[in-house]
């Protein structure tokens, strides 16, 4: 589904964010990428929808080499890739349902979206996705009336409404408290399994990674230093990825 072939990326300020990365992610996998901040986790993700372009190597998504795509094809590809942001990135003054419908924009003609005319089927889809994450009773509430955890779950519904093949979640729970973090991660894992989506999540909390990942990719200084199934992972593995003992603040804590 997603393949990195000898990918290196050097930013214009000389920082080597990725060094010869080779990974292959299969359809339907729930992959968590761990590593300290600055390890290259976000860069790896932004390569996938070409918000940044690698200086060397190829990124292949769903059979397409994305560095070669033209602008119009790139937009088509981006509709296939759903993104969940750390700060939710909802339009605060808009209702929850309208925010979720933003996920449909890539599938709606410009004219119809400008006058706010969406097919009933799309509205049904959006409402149904809100139901799936249990927030449908807030559909007509303004997004800024919701708590952080609720807003992040709305952004999950938005991504689902996009009907993507891939979900990228960059530190989705970094701004949330422990119980809410668990709920968001549970919802995310459940819906991506139900829809058979390939999901990549950046996390720096190792207990969350252990609990929800199918597979863990560890990064340090732009290199992939670990790649394995969750069964192979112990706390020892994380100490190897981080290159030092694990600190208590690198765990998010229990759901309760």
């Amino acid at each position: 589904m997603i393949e990195f072939k000898n990918v290196s990326l050097r930013y214009s300020n000389g920082v080597e964010a990725l060094k010869n990365v080779n990974i292959k992610i299969n359809k339907g996998e729930f992959v968590v990428i761990v590593g300290m901040s600055g390890a290259g986790k976000s860069t790896l993700m932004t390569c996938i929808n070409r918000m940044v372009v690698p200086t060397e190597g190829e990124v292949i998504v769903d059979g397409q080499t994305i560095s070669k795509l033209k602008e119009s094809k790139l937009r088509a590809l981006r509709t296939q890739i759903g993104i969940i942001f750390q700060d939710y990135n909802l339009v605060k003054r808009m209702s929850v349902l309208r925010n979720v419908m933003v996920g449909r924009l890539g599938h709606t003609s410009t004219f119809n979206s400008l006058i706010g005319r969406f097919p009933q089927a799309d509205l049904q889809l959006a409402m149904n996705n809100l139901k799936r994450i249990g927030i449908d009773e807030k559909a007509y509430v303004r997004a800024d009336q919701l708590s952080g955890g609720q807003q992040q779950r709305v952004s999950i519904a938005r991504v689902l409404t996009q009907q993507p093949k891939v979900i990228l979640a960059d530190e989705p729970v970094a701004s949330l408290d422990p119980p809410t973090s668990h709920q968001v991660m549970r919802d995310l894992k459940r819906v991506s399994k139900e829809d058979g989506l390939t999901t990549l999540v950046n996390l720096h909390f190792i207990d969350l990674a252990m609990e929800y990942a199918d597979r863990i990719i560890g990064m340090r200084d732009g290199e992939v230093v670990f790649d394995g199934h969750i069964d192979e992972v112990t706390e020892q593995t994380f100490e190897e990825i981080y290159g030092r003992p694990i600190r208590e603040d690198e765990k998010r804590g229990d759901a309760s």
Partner: protein, 268 residues
């Protein structure tokens, strides 16, 4: 626990160079004041001596106001309000599309952005009285010239005020819409408009307040409405009628300011 001594030298709140700057700037401002007073020949004694004359004029000439003149005043006041209303509405419609060309967040094309800015600055630098005089020369006396002049002027103000708000909106939702494959019109419709619509409406109301006052002044130079009435009655030395006009204006402007401010505080 004893407080740890960090350093033996005294800690100052400001750097020494700050005091030098403060003295320099204060001296500069004082020199400006001195020059201003010399140039304008302003003296406190002269200003104070004007007050008794003014006071006598108020009592002897303005009172009692000529209430029989009330229907005419209200009639002209409505015309003034309509000039303000129409010019503000036209300005709002005219400014709306231009708004997006004149904010750097959305228009990354340096030539059209820079061009927009230059045109706006030129338009705003022309006092609206001059604009009306020009318009009167073009379309003749009456309210149409006032409407045209106010429309151009207030469109420029609206663009200036609101494009600054566009530049300070939350860009994260825009990033999200782009990442999901939305195109520029969709980004504007779903990422920008929901954030700026209340601000824009509030600015429109504010411009309506300004235009109401401006259209009184503009009437004075021939743009119709109550301003024209003031001018006529002044040249006839009918201060009793002038008193009534000022009183009615005061009431009308207060009421509209109050309504506008109440609505605007709800919008924000």
């Amino acid at each position: 626990m004893k407080r740890k001594k960090t350093s033996s030298s005294k800690v100052r709140l400001f750097k020494p160079s700050f005091y030098i700057k403060l003295i320099g700037v204060s001296a500069g401002v004082l020199v400006l004041y001195y020059l201003a007073i010399r140039q304008t020949n302003a003296s406190l004694a002269r200003m104070l001596s004007a007050f008794p004359i003014f006071f006598r004029m108020l009592i002897e000439d303005f009172f009692p106001p000529d209430f029989g003149y009330f229907p005419t005043v209200v009639n002209q006041l409505i015309e003034t309000f309509n000039i303000a209303l129409i010019s503000t509405t036209l300005a709002a419609v005219l400014a709306f599309p231009l708004l997006f060309f004149s904010s750097s967040t959305l228009n990354r094309h340096p030539l059209s952005y820079g061009g927009m800015r230059v045109v706006l600055t030129i338009v705003r630098s022309i006092p609206n009285i001059i604009m009306v005089v020009l318009m009167v020369a073009v379309v003749g006396l009456g309210s149409v010239s006032g409407i045209l002049a106010l429309m151009i002027y207030s469109a420029a103000i609206l663009i200036k005020l609101t494009s600054e708000s566009v530049e300070s909106i939350d860009e994260r939702p825009i990033q999200a819409i782009k990442a999901m494959g939305g195109n520029t019109p969709q980004v504007i419709r779903y990422g920008v408009l929901p954030q700026i619509t209340p601000i824009y409406l509030s600015h429109i109301l504010y411009v309506l307040e300004i235009n109401l006052k401006a259209s009184v002044v503009l009437g004075f130079v021939g743009a119709g409405g109550i301003g024209q009435l003031i001018r006529r009655q002044m040249s006839l030395f009918r201060y009793d009628r002038l008193g009534l006009i000022i009183f009615v204006l005061f009431l009308a402007i207060s009421v509209i300011d109050y309504i506008s401010q109440t609505v605007r505080s709800r919008l924000a």
